[in-house]
């Protein structure tokens, strides 16, 4: 029997009896990826286009990525359907157990969350090593320790790698792991898409790291044409890597949005959603609808490099402005893809550690959605100096400055929550407060950049570079680390060492501010971004920055040590609710079972209802199981 009609009783669904003969796992994936690269390169070179090498490399990367996914096992389900076999609508369980399952295709959102976490930390390490090499090279103005072309390759790879990390490092690990728990469901809407959104990331990282084999690329993360069209085959890494990440954003966004819209448990109404879910939700909106623009622009670049079309070549009917518009039409929502879930994390953690209700919940939601909306109307502030349509400058100046209103709301909500709180000053809370401080500096410096006259001096200088490092490193990365300290016990079953955590916080906070604060001054003293050399009188300042940057990197290694040590070398399962907080994920046992909830929970209260002696628990975990049969609509529960 394949599919039982739902008459009564649970539907009995049987897994596909026949299986693809070849075992699908990560090793098959790697072997097939190598083979796919070879096939793609041969095929591309056989076309004998004007620049056969680009075609070969681009096709090689694409085939390698597809074959890797096939080898990992993504083709099994569609192929089985194509062969007309009986298939189950739901994912089969994982074939692998123990640590091995983290290295293989798994459709369990909790496994995917951990996979994402490790992959993102690794990518952050690679990007950080790039940053260290950049700062090493900048120790002396001239001669460069690293040759200028290699230096620019390092800058580009550091930036693209960190953009990968920043766009996926919250929604990937924490969104995938905790959104289903927080809205009370056992499944994601599209588990295969969810897994795909993770498995697109390793090929993207590897392809990006392969750029130096073909000479690297010197374009920065913006990839402005025609410089990028001039670049060697190293730039093909940018095209394919970024396309894969864009695809991951779309796929993860479709899954996340549908899950939140459709699979909320009974009682989980829109105004009861944890604020973290709102953060992920709004970022997913941006990711889903902005990333395709980038994908289209990258396809145009790929065509320019292989078919010799002229999208971006002004002397042949194209325009570099086309790339700038498309790129920033994606690129500016992209930076809010970074920061919105970080807002979600901070506003989620503050009430739990301040032990007060989230102050102004609805206003916070309006703030997040306001940022989501406004972020579509600001992209040209990156192009104030570019010569495009000067008449539009006042509009984009105003819309950019408008964004500080919803951002200000986030600060207001944070302050309202902190007001007369009972703050338990644990490590996640320290990082939250650090976030508020750093993001404040990032936000204020952003206002300096938003006014056209002041932007004339600051645009493209180290000032803007310092600005976005304050928002992304000081903001998003601090939020990620807060989330890691907070949720690590639930994700891995191990507490991170709190003493080491406090040392890590102060170390990182001081080193970060010492390293990046002087860069505002460097920008004001006319040091442009992405230069391998600089004025001799700025050497003291740059050496100061480099040394503190090394100290900052050391603090991250210290953090990595804490993670490895606490995860693998302390053999004590964390308590189920170490922080004694109300949120539903902490009502569940540690370690979590394969299935999140034995019965579909019924939400009865707010997760932030502290200080109210009569507060109901967040959810009734022993709710009626047959509610799930009607789907997971958020039918209000009579109270």
């Amino acid at each position: 029997m394949a599919i039982a009609p739902i008459v009564d009783g649970p539907s009995i669904i049987q897994s596909s009896e026949r299986r693809i003969v070849v075992p699908t796992n990560i090793l098959t994936g790697i072997v097939l990826a190598v083979f796919g690269y070879w096939v793609g390169e041969q095929l591309g070179n056989s076309f004998l286009l004007n620049d056969a090498q680009n075609t070969g490399v681009l096709l090689g990367y694409s085939f390698a990525s597809i074959m890797f996914l096939v080898g990992v096992g993504f083709a099994n389900y569609p192929l089985a359907r194509l062969f007309g076999w009986r298939v189950t609508p739901q994912p089969a369980g994982d074939d692998h157990t123990g640590a091995w399952r983290y290295l293989n295709l798994s459709l369990d959102h909790k496994v995917i969350g951990v996979q994402y976490l490790v992959a993102m930390l690794m990518a952050m390490l690679f990007g950080g090593i790039g940053a260290m090499l950049i700062r090493t090279s900048l120790l002396v103005p001239d001669p460069p320790i690293v040759a200028p072309d290699k230096y620019l390759t390092l800058v580009s790879m550091h930036s693209v790698m960190m953009i990968f990390v920043a766009s996926a490092a919250i929604v990937g690990p924490f969104g995938n792991f905790f959104v289903p728990l927080m809205i009370g469901t056992n499944r994601m809407a599209f588990p295969r898409l969810e897994a795909l959104s993770f498995w697109l990331v390793p090929p993207a990282i590897v392809i990006l790291l392969a750029a130096p084999i073909f000479g690297g690329f010197q374009t920065g993360w913006t990839g402005y044409t025609p410089l990028s069209e001039q670049a060697d085959q190293g730039f093909d890494s940018y095209i394919v890597g970024f396309t894969l990440i864009g695809l991951a954003l779309v796929v993860s966004g479709v899954n996340m949005l549908t899950t939140v819209i459709r699979l909320r448990a009974p009682g989980m109404t829109w105004i009861r959603l944890p604020i973290f879910v709102w953060g992920v939700f709004s970022a997913s909106i941006l990711g889903t609808f902005a990333a395709p623009i980038l994908a289209a622009a990258l396809i145009m670049q790929g065509f320019d490099r292989t078919l010799n079309t002229t999208f971006f070549i002004s002397s042949a009917g194209g325009s570099p402005y086309l790339w700038e518009n498309l790129f920033w039409f994606f690129g500016h929502p992209e930076v809010y893809i970074f920061i919105l879930p970080a807002f979600g994390i901070i506003l989620e953690l503050l009430p739990h550690f301040a032990r007060k209700p989230l102050w102004g919940y609805r206003t916070a939601v309006v703030g997040l959605l306001g940022v989501t909306l406004l972020s579509w109307f600001v992209w040209q502030h990156h192009l104030f100096m570019s010569g495009i349509a000067p008449a539009l400058r006042p509009f984009f100046m105003f819309s950019t400055e408008m964004i500080s209103i919803p951002t200000g709301i986030v600060f207001l909500v944070a302050f309202g929550t902190l007001w007369r709180a009972r703050i338990s000053m644990s490590v996640p809370m320290l990082f939250c407060l650090g976030f508020l401080f750093n993001f404040l500096i990032g936000g204020l410096s952003g206002v300096f950049l938003s006014d056209v006259p002041s932007d004339v001096t600051l645009h493209g200088s180290y000032f803007s570079m310092a600005h976005f490092h304050f928002t992304i490193v000081g903001g998003e990365i601090f939020a990620i680390i807060a989330a890691i300290y907070y949720w690590f016990p639930k994700m891995t079953g191990r507490m991170l060492n709190q003493t080491l955590g406090k040392i890590h916080f102060w170390w990182m906070m001081i080193a970060f501010n010492m390293a990046f604060m002087p860069l505002f001054a460097a920008g004001l003293l006319d040091m442009p971004r992405r230069v391998s050399t600089y004025a001799v009188d700025l050497q003291t300042l740059n050496d100061w920055v480099s040394i503190w940057a090394f100290i900052l990197f050391a603090s991250m290694l210290f953090f990595a040590f804490n993670v490895i040590w606490s995860w693998f070398f302390t053999f004590k399962v964390a308590p189920a609710n170490p922080w004694q907080v109300r949120s539903i994920e902490w009502m569940l046992p540690t370690p979590l079972g394969r299935r999140n909830f034995e019965k579909i929970p019924v939400f009865t209260g707010s997760p932030y209802d502290y200080g109210n002696p009569g507060a109901k628990p967040v959810a009734d975990l022993g709710g009626p199981s047959d509610l799930g049969r009607r789907g997971f609509g958020a039918e209000p529960v009579p109270s």
């Binding site: 394949a2 599919i3 739902i6 649970p10 539907s11 009995i12 669904i13 897994s15 009896e17 004007n50 569609p78 359907r81 194509l82 062969f83 007309g84 009986r86 189950t88 609508p89 369980g93 499944r187 809407a189 779309v250 966004g253 479709v254 899954n255 549908t258 899950t259 459709r262 699979l263 889903t288 609808f289 395709p292 623009i293 994908a295 289209a296 065509f303 010799n308 079309t309 002229t310 999208f311 002004s314 002397s315 042949a316 009917g317 194209g318 325009s319 402005y321 086309l322 518009n325 498309l326 299935r595 579909i600 199981s625 047959d626 799930g628 049969r629 009607r630 789907g631 997971f632 609509g633």
Partner: protein, 206 residues
């Protein structure tokens, strides 16, 4: 297959009886998910249409459509877009009858596949007889080649996808059991057809 052997293969027993995997849940997520995906996909084409109008307005180096560019023939483009619309319409009709009459659905799907494959064939023919070189044709040539290739790539993938629906349109097949997924797929093809129509008007008439 018994519960026991599933367990031994690492399949947890939740698969057997979990209410969250019932088909009506699936129906709900597939339609919403497809709408969101269609929105994302539409943005991909929006970028290309933006490129069309932007480059056309700029007309850099007086090279939007230079004298060497032969305007593609409208009747071939018309055939391509008609086949695409027919394909989408047939899939929608097939999806409507998937639950009740699998054999009718199968017939519609087969016809849709035929239309789709023919559409791709004509597209290849058009690319072979372009009348301009993308390298020398100016902005128009670039947008034409870019937009049409991406659309064709999506049609090809959609035809493979349609193949799975044909294979599963047996009385006990997946498409029959879960008509919502076939309906969602039909929506996707309708969107592609819509893009095709707009692309036809834009690329051949403006």
């Amino acid at each position: 297959m018994s519960q026991q052997s599933q367990q031994s293969r690492g399949l947890p027993n939740l698969v057997a009886s979990a209410p969250e995997w019932s088909t009506d849940v699936d129906a709900r997520v597939s339609s919403v998910g497809m709408w969101i995906f269609m929105g994302a996909n539409a943005m991909l084409f929006v970028a290309f249409f933006f490129a069309f109008f932007y480059l056309r307005a700029l007309n850099n180096a007086d090279n939007w459509m230079n004298i060497w560019t032969v305007h593609p023939r409208r009747y071939i483009g018309g055939i391509i877009v008609l086949l695409l619309v027919a394909c989408a319409g047939l899939v929608v009709m097939g999806a409507r009858s998937a639950a009740k009459a699998p054999s009718t659905a199968r017939m519609f799907f087969w016809l849709a596949l035929l239309a789709g494959v023919l559409c791709c064939g004509f597209q290849v023919y058009e690319f072979k007889h372009l009348g301009f070189d993308p390298q020398m044709g100016g902005g128009y040539a670039s947008v034409f080649v870019g937009l049409k290739s991406v659309l064709m790539a999506e049609i090809v993938v959609a035809m493979i996808w349609l193949g799975t629906h044909i294979a599963q349109a047996t009385p006990i097949g997946d498409t029959t059991a879960r008509p919502a997924s076939a309906a969602a797929f039909g929506n996707f093809l309708v969107m592609l057809a819509g893009v095709g129509v707009v692309a036809y008007l834009v690329l051949y008439f403006i």
